[in-house]
Symmetry: C2
Subunit: 439 residues, 2 copies
């Protein structure tokens, strides 16, 4: 193990692990899956472990016991759950029968994939979803050895860095998304940023649908927006963090990050699933910017309870890649996700990883001040980037009052007030309750 | 439209579309979704179109009619299908009721995202999976305007290029995967390649689980394998195509491609879903190698009939990124997928795209010669890379006979023979029927 984490041993090939595995066995990465299967869960887990390490559908020459001991995946535990009459995932190939769910833990030696994130993902999330032995399979969590995590640069800014860049402490960062999502000119966008900045907003972001559109070229938007932000900062001492959506081809993203840095910006947004792990890691490790990780497309990977990946596992991968802020949806959101699930996601982001790097949970979707009370009650944290789009811009007294109302709501929540008490105390918040509180 | 595709207009920002939209309206990209909804399908489609263009949950200032006309997504058609008592995707937030399925077509102006693949994906596959208005949503296909596709470099080799690099014409390329997936040393791997090469194999690939492991560093494997391949080529005039798994961080992949090129190799493999779109496109556009696209992780995105993305849409995105070969599973495979679905996937790959670039369908998973007959019967094509792992290496007469048996099976199938006729004609194939034909 000492050899394994020796930098010299890594130097001869990026991501490689060129030890000979002498002495102590190498540390292991352990994945927890929720499975459903018509087989005995122990048997199904063994199929998964075989498929995802040394297995094929018949025994082949060269598959020695020594080789298996070193590189084979290992089933570490099986906790059986309920039986079901119907399979969660239909398949024409299923024999009739009953289906049992279980939590299974499977481990791999880090010698298999090294510090190569894509190969780690192919190991933990590759062909196993294809196996007909499963009628449900979801990756719930991943346990990494501390020394493994420590090897990654990880988030450069995270919670503390995002606070330092915005000068916001002891309360959530309050943010907004420019709406309409797409169609505004750079000048119109900059105008909105100005309005928000004067109202005391901490953070503004592009919508994920806008990167460089026909009437809002990226460079022009950066120029117009940063001109306003820099001027406001000169006047007030407070610099708004604007997450420009750099999502695109690899070189384009790096070039756009440079454009942001040169203009005095502090943040870039990446649509994680659309861009992918390799290019996101490259941007995170290269650009001296806080990286705002947007998870659009996430619903496809998690919306079925027995298919895909759960957020606690997902956010760990992106933290290793170096993302500083990641979306978690919000309490009483406009989407399908339950409050319980949102709370679990926030908790997952706030759990430390071994390299000491943190990630800031980004709360958004149909948010306004009203949800501050329940968000605070259930998470007891102010380490959030709390985002409202329409919830700010459509405030009856204007966008500026929208920002004020959000700040009021969070102050009231943390002060232990109830919503109806806050309404009496704070007129801007009261107006937002009138407008948004009926749903 | 003339301005839109003028290169000069694109020069000021990669991926940007900096026209002012004068004159003719810009061409549109149209997506077809299979949806399920408790609402009227027309209404649900409008929600999708709004969310994925100019919409937010309340009307906001700046959302003008002119802006909407230019940038709003448009519902192009709704074909209603059956009603269901139970929702395909459960949600705590559903009111009781019935659920109707429908095929809906939604279009976007290319002015929204330009030639930026990640932003295209965020538009077509982003937050829409989160919408509670849907109890099922799957992206089935994408129609791109010809001029849009023509802008992409796309696959450099495809079917014709893969044939030219291997010298194989008028029959499928026959390939194998090194098994066990992980654990062999570079010398052992090279030894297997030698055996396969002497048996006349056209193509060999790394397993997706192996890129650079503790006992098989990438560079060393390239060196050992290419030594054997080059020596065989000198002797026989036939160069085996070996797909080295370069999947990894961005720079690492480019460096590994260079290593392959320097050693005289012709192909690199990428785990598409694990690496992601941006870095894959970068490798495709940079490396003078055929890119073998492995779709591991694909099951997560498609296994539920009402969630994710269907293969016809998926393969188009990777063809735009520049992949030359892409996995399609195989007839009577070991996985969950039906033969009908595999046939549809092969057909999708063989349909031309407007830039004239082709992609070679890679048939694999539990394959041996036995499936050649049904594969030929249903697809009537030999434009395939037909892969067998255990099906070759575990042949009773040895790996060399395994290759021969596969070649025999394909010759027999194309000659119009039935399996039982081929057994009488070809002894190596007959032995493989004895071993693999019982399942």
């Amino acid at each position: 193990m000492a050899i394994l984490y020796n930098d010299a041993a890594m130097a001869d090939g990026p991501g490689g692990l060129h030890t000979e595995g002498q002495g102590e066995p190498a540390p292991r990465v352990t994945a927890t899956y929720l499975i459903e299967t018509p087989l005995a869960p122990e048997k199904a887990a063994e199929v998964l472990a075989g498929e995802q390490s040394s297995g094929t559908f018949v025994a082949v020459p060269g598959e020695t016991a020594e080789l298996k001991a070193r590189f084979a995946a290992r089933v570490e535990g099986v906790e059986t759950l309920d039986w079901f009459e119907q399979p969660s995932l239909p398949s024409e190939k299923l024999a009739p029968g009953k289906y049992q769910q279980a939590l299974v833990r499977v481990s791999w030696s880090v010698e298999n994939f090294g510090f190569n994130l894509p190969v780690l993902v192919s190991t933990l999330q590759g062909n196993l979803y294809e196996l007909r032995q499963f009628t449900g399979l979801k990756l719930m969590d991943i346990d990494f050895p501390a020394a493994y995590v420590a090897h990654f640069k990880g988030s450069k800014f995270g919670i503390e860095g995002s606070r330092a860049l915005t000068g916001v402490y002891n309360r959530p960062l309050i943010g907004t998304i420019i709406k309409p999502s797409i169609g505004l000119t750079p000048e119109q966008t900059a105008e909105m940023v100005q309005t928000m900045g004067e109202a005391g907003i901490d953070f503004v972001k592009d919508d994920e649908l806008l990167s460089s559109s026909a009437n809002s070229p990226f460079e022009k938007r950066v120029e117009e927006v940063m001109n306003r932000i820099n001027r406001l900062a000169d006047k007030t001492g407070k610099k708004i963090m604007y997450a420009f959506n750099v999502s695109g081809e690899t070189d384009e993203m790096l070039y756009r990050c440079e454009t942001i840095v040169k203009a005095g910006g502090t943040c870039a947004m990446i649509s994680l699933n659309s861009v992918g792990l390799s290019a996101t890691r490259k941007v995170c490790e290269t650009a001296p910017l806080a990286i705002h990780g947007h998870r659009n497309g996430w619903g496809m990977m998690t919306r079925h309870p027995l298919l895909g990946i759960d957020f606690p596992a997902y956010q760990k991968l992106w933290r290793l890649a170096g993302v500083d802020q990641i979306h978690v949806n919000g309490i009483a959101n406009k989407f399908w996700e339950s409050d319980d699930s949102v709370v679990r996601s926030i908790e997952a982001c706030l759990r430390p990883m071994a390299n000491g790097r943190t990630v800031l949970p980004v709360v958004s979707s149909g948010q306004w001040g009203g949800q501050a009370f329940e968000t605070w009650r259930r998470t007891a944290t102010v380490d959030l980037l709390y985002m409202a789009g329409g919830g700010i811009m459509a405030h009856p007294m204007g966008a500026s009052a929208g920002v004020t109302a959000l700040q009021q709501a969070w102050k009231a929540a943390v002060d232990g007030m109830q919503l109806n008490e806050a309404v009496k105390e704070y007129p801007e918040f009261a107006k937002s309750v009138e407008k948004f509180g009926k749903g």
